[in-house]
Structures are given as C-alpha cells and as structure tokens.
Amino acid sequence: MSAKYEKQNPAFYVLIAILVFMSIGPVMLMFINSFKLDVDIISGTSGLLFLPTIQNYEKALCDVLWYEPEHVDFCSLKFGGAFINSLIIALISTFLTLVIGCMAAYALVRFRFMGRDTASLTTLMVRMVPPAVLLVPVFGLWNNEFCLDKEGLIGGLIRDTFGGRGDVCLAGTHSGIILIYVAMNLPFVIWILQSFIVQVPRSLEEAARVDGAGPFQVFFKVVLPLIKPGLAAAAIFTFRIAWNEYLLASALSDRNTKTVPILIVNNMSEFNVEWGVIMATGMLLAIPPIIFTLFASRQIITGMTAGAVKG
C-alpha cells in the first residue's frame, strides 16, 4: 500500500491543508453562522463559542413546519413553497433535457443525414449565449407571444400535466421556466453525451439490429445503459444550472412560482439584512449540490473533462 505513494515534503502537506481550508472555509463559515443568532453574528463572538440554535431554520421554513415555533410571530419568508417550486422545476427540466438531449446526441453521432452539420454547428454556437442575453426576448415572448397560439405544442403538453389556467401565458408558470431551462441546457448536454456515445461499440448495436430490434429499441435498450456515467454527469450539470439559476427565473416567475434563488436575492437587497436567516436559506439551497458533489464527484470530473477536451 505505502510503496505506491511517494513520500512528500511536510511543507507540501501544509500547502494542501491551506488549499482545503481556503476552498471549504467560506462554506463552513456559512454553515456555522446559520446556527447562530443574529446577535452572536454581529457581536463577533468568533470561533465556535456559541450556543447553536435552529431558530434560523425554523424561521426560514415556517410555512412548511408542522408546529409553530414560538419565536416566529409572522411567517413572512415563504421558503418552503419556493423550495418545492425549485425542486419541481429542476427535476422536470433535468429529466426532459436528458431524454431529449441524448436522443439528439445519438442522432448526431450515429447517423449521416441532411442538415447534420448545421444542427451540430448550431448546438455548439448557442452554447456561448449568456442567460442575460436571453432575458429581453424571453421576457417579451413568454408574456406576449407564447400564449394561445402555442397551446397545441410542447408548451401545451407540459401545461396539461400541471393544470394551467386557460389562456394564461407561459410567463409565471412552472412550464415557462422549465422550457427555457431545457433549451438553455440542451446544447451542453448534447455536447457532453456525444463524446460518450462515440465510445459505444458499433458492433453491439449491429448485433441488436440483426436480432430484429428497431432503432428506438436499440437506442433505449443497448445504447442508454452503456452511457450511464455520461448521463449521470450530464444530469448533475443540468440540475445544477436549473437549481441555481436566478436571472431568467426572476423575469418569468410570479408570486406562486418563485424559486429559492429569487427569494434569497429579494431578502438580501433589503436594507437590514438578517444574516442568520439568510445564511440558513443559503445553506438549504446549497445542500443538494453539496450532496451531489460528495457522492458523485467522479462523474462530475469525468463530465467536466469530457466537456472541455472535446472541442
């Protein structure tokens, strides 16, 4: 065991310790502060000498708690609702992006067809579009144009599953936000999955073909199981963007479809910041990505390398 690893200079371990401290220090700080009362945060009893309290979390989650915490007289922060909105939007958009994205990636890798080069180039080009650039047109379109006339299309289909309200526009609904997230993430997902699908041996697919499987069967029963690591990586990246995004969600959501980032920003911009509660909400928002990182870091790194190296 020990023979495999080289002996290193002690200074080297000090350097690593410093790096680790620097990278997770701010997160730990937020974690600790989220258990402090505002008085403790401001008075500066530094370090670990304080009485941990879950009051901040109770205050943040007051609309979904089954009991009424005595220190909360008025439940102003509707964190629970926002959390559920975020969850719905992130999970559904991740699922749709993956299904649609891997089908497209498969087509781009395995078939020669008219318009293939155009499709592939377009996918690559739209990857650079910043969300801020989409703000103006998406705001205009989702409020004015994608209303009645898009009822029959995919927007309508998504709406049906959630139960929309007649001729309401896409703006202000979950599906409106999901649609733009799916579109925004597709180029990246297609790009990453292409490099995984290329590695699937063609002979396997041909064998399935010979056994009488149709193209869709080949895809779902042979190709998909083989690119699971790629799918995991793509899923994490898509979820991360959909879960963390603020700008477009803030333009498209209304009172009932607010996501967590919007809630945090709205509470930040007020003059008197309640640090404890804000840190608690921030921590709650950060928990899912942290869990992913701890359990699937290998997939994340594979995905990152695949996404960058394949130019």
């Binding site: 499709a119 579009v129 650039v133 989409l134 703000l135 205009g140 963390n244 700008l247 701890l294």
Partner: protein, 303 residues
C-alpha cells in the same frame, strides 16, 4: 420501400424534439431580440406596437459613456479573472501532480465551490467582506491592521477574488487531467536526459498540455462574460458603475429603465463579442486537429 423510408426518417425523429425546443426557446428568441433591437420598445408594448427606429439604439449605446464604462469593467473583469485563474490553476496542477494518498478526496473538496449556487457564493462573500461584521475586516482588526473597504473602494478587486475562489478549481482539475494523460515516455526521456524539474515543466509538460490549456482558457473566458448573480448579490453593480458588468447592465436596462430596445441592442453587442471568442476557439481546435493529423500521417510514412 416503407422500411427504407422509415430508416431514412429515423435520425430526424431522434433530432426532432431537441430541434423544436431549441428553435422555439433559443433561436426564435434570438431572432426576436435582433428584430427588437431596432425598435423603441418598452415592456408594456408588444413588439408590433413599438416604433421602428433603425440603428438608433446601437448609435445611442456607441456614444453612451456609461456603456463604455460597463464594457470596460466587463473586459477588465474577464481578463483578470481568467489570467489569475489560469496562473493559479495550472500552477497548482503542476505542483500537485504527484502520487499522493487522498487525491480524490482533495478533488472532491475543490469542486465544491463550483457546484454551489452563484447566489449563495455572493451571499457568503458579501458577509465576509462586510465592513464591520465581516470575517476579513474582523481578522485585520484582530491583527491591529486598518480595515479595508472591500466592497466600496476595492469593489472590482473583491469580486475578482470571489470569482477566482469559485472557478480556479475548474482550471486546476482540467489541467491536472491533461497532465496525467501526458505520454509517460516523453517525461521519462526528459528525466533521463537530466532535465531539471523546471526544464521539464517549461520544455515538456507545458507545450504538451497547450491544446487543452487553450480550450480551457477560452471556455473560461466565455463563461466569465456570463457571471451575473455573484456580482448582483455582492454589490448590485455599485458603488457607482464600478462593478456593473454588461450582463448586469442589460438586466437593469430592461427591468429598471424599461428600455427593452436598448437592452436588446446591448445584448447584441455582447453576443458579437462572444461570437469572436467562439470563432477563435473553433479556429484553434480545428488547427490542432489538422496538425495532429499531419503528424500522424508523417509518422505513418516513416514506418
């Protein structure tokens, strides 16, 4: 006959959902934006009601000192952020490219900052930079040093530091992956020829890593223009315009000043800028592929 037709239709069936969604929610909006940038358009109007003003929005922006300021801030931010991140990231990768125990744990901890929401990152750093209760000033105070006005006078520097914290690991991990996939034979040869550690880095490792480094750098550069939430939470673009990057200015023009036409024109300027970087990236990668192909051909001829 029908079987052949079905076969020919298969790729289109696989492509169709993605094509529909991207056309509807990316390409059409982009066209819509270009169309809208020629109009005097405010949020209460539909685009058809807005008056056509030709290139006016573009000309106004071209002469607008605030826009110049914003563009300057954006370019400075992107330049410093990418520069420092490349230096630190590649440096750390060269330093930590050793066979040590716990490397995977280390990498896991390093990617944590990237995965956390930009809003939360902004929140953490805003707390740490806080003039009185913030971690940094308290630390300086304890040491008896004067306090620093982090998000006031040095706002741009402070947001650059926060971004470096968040994204250096990205470059570190990609360059580490590149380093570990270098051909062992080249390194071995250099060592046998008696190259010092520095010489190995400068003459062997860095040149071999170059293709990956260039792509990483360009990817990071394009991403640096997308940064918005961290800055929004930390400074809201202030004080003054000192941290108002273009993405933030677009969103403010659209929501606060209610000038969608101008915001659209600004978005188009930003897109043109990014287009230039993307084209550069394509050029570099295709050049590399050609060179690799030529080398491969040369090797085959030799054999």
């Amino acid at each position: 006959m029908s079987r052949a037709l079905a076969n020919r239709l298969t790729p289109y069936m696989f492509m169709a959902p993605a094509a529909v969604i991207m056309a509807m929610a990316l390409l059409y909006p982009l066209m819509y934006m270009i169309w809208g940038s020629f109009r005097d358009w405010n949020p209460s109007q539909t685009i058809g009601e807005a008056e056509f003003v030709g290139l006016n929005n573009y000309i106004t922006l071209w002469n607008d000192p605030n826009f110049h300021e914003s563009l300057g801030v954006t370019l400075r931010f992107a330049f410093f952020v990418v520069g420092f991140e490349m230096l630190i990231g590649v440096g750390l990768a060269l330093l930590l490219d050793r066979n040590i125990r716990g490397m995977s744990v280390l990498r896991t901890l390093f990617i944590l900052p990237m995965m956390i929401a930009p809003v939360v990152v902004g929140l953490m750093w805003r707390y740490m930079y806080h003039p009185t209760v913030g971690t940094f000033n308290r630390f300086l105070d304890d040491l008896g040093l004067p306090k620093v006005d982090w998000l006031g006078q040095h706002a741009l520097g402070s947001i650059i530091i926060a971004d470096i914290w968040q994204w250096t690991p990205f470059i570190f991990i990609l360059s580490l992956a590149a380093l570990q996939s270098l051909p062992r034979s080249a390194l071995e040869a250099a060592r046998i020829d008696g190259a010092t550690a520095w010489q190995q880095i400068i003459y062997v490792k860095l040149p071999l890593m170059m293709p990956v480094l260039i792509v990483t750098c360009l990817l990071r550069l394009i991403d640096a223009f997308k940064v918005l939430e961290v800055i929004l939470v930390m400074t809201e673009g202030g004080p003054g315009l000192s941290t108002e990057i273009l993405a933030l200015r677009i969103s403010r023009t659209a929501t606060e000043f209610r000038e969608l036409g101008v915001a659209a024109a600004m978005s188009n300027y930003l897109l043109l800028l990014l287009l230039a970087f993307t084209v550069a990236m394509f050029a570099v990668t295709s050049l590399q592929e050609k060179r690799a192909a030529r080398i491969r051909a040369a090797v085959e001829e030799d054999e």
